[in-house]
Symmetry: C2
Subunit: 530 residues, 2 copies
């Protein structure tokens, strides 16, 4: 595809079916590899753009949430088609805006479309409606029972904040948007300022899908602007009923506070901070220290360490096997090429985080990777070590350094390993490498890990999150703001629903889903039985 085939970028706010030029200070993407400013500028929106998007979303809500499962599923599939129709242009722009490699961006585009189609299937299957019917018992003594029918309905318009590290799969048409639309919620996305061009391309695809499916225009809007102005205006708008966010702990916490201090507090699904402990049990470490050390650095370096599930912490018993693991890992780190980070700001935070860690007296540097001085946002892999007792006494050692930096903790025994696990904050993942001989020790640790993490992995690496039915990408605070949910996988739809019960409502007024005839053939709990 030549450049002349590509639709030009306009820097417009996409509000419903409109394309509007805002009047605030323009945001520009920056190519993180060379620091170059990318055109066009995206003039920042503010209260006026939020007002229009929220009004349209509210106006669309009652109609959109009652679309039948088939229409809603078709809409999600149409978005996927429209994204595929743009094809390569998305990758070309994202390459410039994110510094991520081409193969990763192409894979992520496929994953984004696959995710939309997964939710189409979820919508059709209808379990998310959680239909429960308790028929009337007019003869029951001492009191008759009324006819009671429950379904779940969409919460309302949802604000989604695009993530920097997944410019497609967790941005404009990513997991939050797909699951909120699947639930029947109109979505207003605040584009991440790191990839506005990629956002505009994908936002245009959703805009066209809304039109092709004859849905009310307010089902989707895409806004550009600062978090402090446009983001705050969005969360405090009374028509917004939930928030999806993937980003930093400070950003997520700020959003959460704002949402909680509204006259009507609303749910915030913020996926924030995780250092993803990896436990190396004694028998497996003894048997495979070297291959584990190598594989560990492979996982650490994926995407320049900018995965939410990046393995930032390794726990093992001190001793000769651990030293072999560390020696191999150190060699792999030293051989690690310099990668480009997502933005100059993320690079800066990474550099400072690594500096702070290495300045602590309890921490010893194990190895550093290559550093390319021509790169404007380089990620130099960094590996450190400390003891369990030092880790337990210094809270700063538990802070996430976003990027390819990790800390190895040498524990005296399994009890101390367990103590470190108890001491950890909430995590997205906890990984345990084990041989059969380690099972008894793992049994002691599992209850702690279950309390600390949303996903427990055996003999693998946490980077890479399957989009499926059984996935949990979530976990206790501060991994997320709501441990009861997942942001990846089919259960993510449940975040945007609430139950409503209808008592003795005449059949003619019931939603088709709740009528006796069950015209959509959806699963139901009838008088307590499936």
């Amino acid at each position: 595809m030549s450049l002349s085939d590509q639709s030009p970028l306009h820097g417009h706010q996409l509000i419903g079916q409109r394309s509007l030029l805002a009047t605030g200070k323009p945001l520009h993407a920056i190519n993180p590899a060379n620091g170059e400013t990318l055109e066009p500028g995206y003039p920042s929106g503010g209260a006026e753009e939020v007002e229009l998007a929220c009004k349209l979303a509210h106006d669309a809500f009652d109609s959109f949430r009652e679309t039948d499962p088939e229409s809603r599923a078709t809409f999600l599939e149409t978005i996927a088609e429209e994204i595929e129709a743009i094809g390569e242009q998305i990758t070309e722009r994202a390459l410039q805006e994110t510094g991520l490699p081409r193969a990763r961006l192409e894979g992520e585009r496929g994953r984004t479309c696959g995710q939309l189609r997964l939710f189409a299937g979820v919508v059709r299957a209808g379990e998310w409606l959680d239909v429960r019917i308790d028929p009337a018992l007019p003869e029951r003594s001492p009191m008759p029972r009324a006819d009671l029918r429950q379904r779940r309905i969409a919460l309302g318009p949802v604000a989604v904040f695009g993530a920097s590290n997944f410019p497609l799969a967790f941005s404009v048409a990513g997991g939050d948007t797909a699951s909120a639309l699947a639930a029947g919620c109109p979505v207003i996305v605040k584009a991440h300022s790191a990839h506005p061009g990629t956002s505009e391309l994908v936002g245009g695809a959703i805009q066209r899908a809304v039109k092709r499916c004859n849905l009310p225009e307010g089902v989707f809007s895409l806004l550009y602007g600062s978090g402090r102005i446009l983001g705050q205006a969005l969360i405090t708008d009374p028509r917004i009923q939930a928030v999806g966010f993937t980003g930093s702990r400070s950003g997520g916490t700020a959003l959460l506070k704002t949402a909680q201090n509204r006259p009507q507090p609303i749910p915030v699904y913020a996926e924030m901070s995780s250092i993803n402990p990896v436990l190396l049990m004694p028998a497996v470490l003894e048997a495979r220290a070297e291959s584990l050390g190598q594989a560990f650095i492979g996982s650490l370096n994926m995407g320049a360490g900018q995965f939410c599930t990046n393995p930032g912490l390794v726990l093992a018993l001190e001793g000769e096997a651990l030293e072999r693991f560390i020696a191999t890992a150190a060699d792999s780190v030293a051989a690690s090429g310099c990668q480009t980070m997502l933005t100059p700001g993320i690079h800066d935070a990474y550099r400072k985080g690594v500096e702070q860690l290495s300045s602590l007296p309890q921490v010893k540097e194990v190895a550093r990777g290559a550093l390319d001085s021509d790169n404007a946002s380089p990620c130099q892999t960094a590996l450190f070590r400390t003891s369990a007792s030092d880790f337990l006494s210094e809270p700063a050692l538990q802070e996430e350094v976003f990027g390819a930096s990790a800390l190895i903790i040498a524990c005296r025994d399994i009890a101390e390993m367990r103590a470190v696990c108890e001491h950890l904050e909430g995590q997205l993942t906890a990984t345990v490498h084990m041989d059969d001989a380690d099972h008894d020790a793992v049994r002691q640790l599992l209850p702690v890990l279950e309390r600390r993490a949303g996903r427990i992995l055996a003999n693998g690496w946490p980077t890479g999150v399957e989009v499926c039915q059984a996935m949990v990408h979530g976990g206790p605070w501060p991994a997320t703001s709501d441990s009861r949910t997942t942001s990846v996988g089919s259960a993510a739809i449940e975040r945007f629903l609430r139950p409503v019960c209808y008592q003795d409502l005449p059949e003619a007024l019931l939603s088709p889903t709740l009528r006796d005839a069950n015209p959509e053939a959806l699963p139901r709990l009838m008088d307590g039985k499936r």
Copy 2:
């Protein structure tokens, strides 16, 4: 049963299997009918009692949450048996402490035991585990899929704050406790100070059930003390992972703020405030104004108006039919006997609320019920009217007056009725009385009511909440702090669970629930199919 058969009350804190006398200022129940102080005193607990209860609950958690469904269900049934074994003594004490009529208290005891047995059935059925298994796809291209298995586990120890208005069904062994225990969460109840004796009796029953079932003692504790000291200590303890509360808007909001400001915020399920609008549509009002007026006051007076679902607001079109409705309702109010409120404090708040309402220039008094000057906590039924335009312009008219007080709003047309509904805060219930000729008008209102309420009733009255599968006792803020949930009915268990995913975990380390053999024969989503 003679008094000598009854186990004496001790005023002890029941912490695990221990009975301890705290050292704080003793709380005494007061008979609201005559102001008499009831023995024994309940010395207030504080930080020390909270510490012990939380330690025991934490110690019990990992073991209790892994009890198999059958054992957990048996435990809930054993609690019901133990409550039944106390029998009449509970009613006798609750009569003195609450001023509620005997039949109501006997019914509530049955309902409480029925609720425990409902949750036993829910636990056995196993849908709450939401087991999802996506088997490994080692041959998948370009990337193999790992074996992924999801189940839900209990959140952790739960703090439950007993409600004043349901001294059994929403207190020590009420809906919050039953659903949290069903989920596998240890429970620490803060007894409501209005009925400490009833609480001690029921708490003793749970204590004995824990022992009979050989469960770790920390599964249940019952504490007495002030909300400001003991309550705050409980919510801020890092081992507490969720809160259940039924009470006032100010109380629930304070709890929520405290929980949100913890280093680790936790979910709060507060059921707080609802005025439960009742819409009388034109055709039905024309046809049955008088019988509706009479039935309305019957519902308003139930339990001296101290139901969460008490109908505090009536909407109808102005005109002759509404005047007939009002005239009949006024007669019924005037004939209403004086009832006893739950506590002198609730009586006082009711008196002030009614005074404030009647002092507003937009409000006209329609009728008042009888007032018994010998009663120390009398509820004098009160009925007021106003216009829709006045209601829309005066926020004070929307404030809940807890007790048998209601406000009738005369609307000019259906559009104005809809505007009033849009203007309402979140509600537990919304009721619509209609004839077939009203269906078209109701269709315009239903989407608004769905956005505003957790339960929509046709041609009935909101008081009386069936404990079943399809019930929703919940609703948007400020009816509750979390509209995604219900506090009554089987879905209440979902409030105390979070999903955990196991990736490639060896069969030997998996919970039986997740093993291939499915020994408990629980429902599962296998590769996306049931």
